[in-house]
Amino acid sequence: MSVPAELGYTSEHEWVAINEGVATIGITAFAAESLGDIVFVEPPEVGATVAAGEPCGEVESTKSVSEIYAPVNGEVVDINRAAVDEPELVGTDPYGQGWLFKVELADEPADLLTPEQYTQLTEGEG
């Protein structure tokens, strides 16, 4: 299962890429694979304030619906409308075209997992 080295992770299976104070957020390949066909995604709205560890959106597959937890504190500045229109992008390219939303950071993110820690976590669950 792909776990890109340059990203941060959460135990709720989100990934985070931080660039100049803005975090791009999506779900991991492990999460996408365990969900199966993704049929609906609902990222938070642009302008919404999100708090690390709080639910802020949904990802729905044939068999289940899962909440997206915000990995960081801040304000949502962009969402991926292509992924909303074509939820399958989240499954086919979770780290690329399937990103979900961007957050302008209110503070330095705490408690993100390293790729090694996240890999260890998924091996425990897999």
Partner: protein, 374 residues
């Protein structure tokens, strides 16, 4: 994201376990069995069954034999159907209920011979069905034998199923009608070959005894089917296929809390058959009074899926509860079935489902959502 659930107790493996591993299936614990949920895309598997064919491992299903000179009388007493009227080689969809008419399971019963019936139960209910049949067998010259562990069951379903199966079997498939089953061979192995299924398509179910080459039969069907578009299909596709076809699932539409009448399946209750049967008095009363709630089909206007347990609203008032819901690959929209209280006017009014706190508009439609062209 919430963490994917991990399996706890050690589930049983079907004779096709190695095949699923080889195919890279996502395996889940289903009713105590390690079963393929999907092999690749569940929507892809669903579409393959609608357009070509799919291959399913259903070895988790319960197989209970009822044998003896009074096997027919026992089943007439124990089940709601008129099984003594079934000719050898034919099958019936039927149910077993409690004394109060609550559904214990829905069943397909094959009459293999005058004195031998095969009762096929849902995996989760298999032990309870066998126990109920044994209890109800008291006083009848018949024996109940739960042989679930000894059977493998493979289904090939879809419009091209017959074409794929024909060169592999000694049976003339045009002689096997819907809900008929006979002893034949498939890929040289002895099987019970039945034209039954749970997908809304034409198809066959192949029952195999132990050591009878389940993996070889699977591989033969897989190889013969591939040029026709056959793919292996998991339980996830099976669930969306049956839901589109308006077929009930035990634990969802069918529970001990409802009688066959609530589920819209009163036709399986043969109140006129000779003799008494378990549940008769309660079911006759329900037939007179009418069901307390009825099953309806819902099609969502949006993309969020109404799921089991969600409340159905009419003009913002709760009127029922969703029993099954899923994105429908055929309709391209979420579909659901729900119990709505008797007396609710489903022909007018604005219907919605409370999807985690938000009322999502739905249209009430007639079941099934999908019917194959004859």
């Amino acid at each position: 994201m919430s963490a994917p659930a991990a399996a706890t107790a050690e589930p049983r493996r079907t004779p096709l376990y190695e095949v699923h591993e080889r195919l890279g299936a996502a395996l889940v614990d289903f009713a105590g069995w390690l079963m393929p949920l999907r092999y690749g895309s569940e929507a892809g598997e669903h579409r393959a069954v609608r357009e070509a064919a799919g291959l399913f491992d259903l070895s988790h299903m319960g197989e209970i034999h009822v044998r003896g000179p009074q096997a027919d009388a026992l089943l007439d007493h124990a089940l709601v159907g008129h099984l003594s009227a079934v000719a050898p080689g034919r099958a019936r969809y039927t149910m077993i209920t409690a004394e109060d008419g609550g559904v214990l399971d829905d069943l397909i019963v094959y009459r293999l011979a005058a004195d031998d019936y095969l009762v096929v139960a849902n995996a989760a209910n298999s032990d309870a069905v066998a126990a109920a049949l044994r209890e109800r067998a008291s006083g009848f010259d018949a024996e109940v034998a739960d042989e679930s562990a000894e059977y493998a069951l493979i289904a090939v379903q879809g419009p091209r199923a017959a074409e794929i199966l024909a060169p592999l079997t000694d049976a003339d498939l045009s002689d096997i009608r819907y809900y008929a089953g006979y002893f034949h061979t498939v890929a040289g192995h002895p099987v019970l070959l039945a034209r039954t299924g749970y997908t809304g398509e034409d198809g066959f179910e192949i029952f195999l005894r132990p050591g009878s080459g389940a993996a070889a039969v699977w591989d033969a069907l897989s190889a013969a089917g591939e040029p026709h578009g056959l793919v292996p299909a998991g339980l996830s596709a099976r669930d969306t296929l049956r839901l589109e076809a308006g077929m009930p699932l035990y634990g969802n539409e069918l529970t001990t809390e409802v009688t066959p009448y609530e589920a819209g399946l009163g036709r399986v209750v043969k109140l006129d058959k000779p003799g008494d049967f378990v549940g008769r008095a309660a079911l006759a009363a329900r037939a007179r009074s009418g069901p307390s709630r009825t099953l309806v089909g819902l099609v969502a206007r949006g993309r969020r899926v109404p799921r089991q347990g969600y409340t159905v609203l009419r003009e913002d008032q709760p009127v029922g509860v969703v029993t099954s819901g899923a994105p429908s690959p055929t309709l391209g929209r979420p579909i659901a079935v729900a119990y709505v209280d008797a007396g609710v006017d489903t022909a007018t009014g604005a219907f919605a489902v409370d999807v985690r706190g938000r009322a999502e508009p739905v249209d009430v439609v007639e079941l099934p959502f999908y019917r194959r062209e004859a």
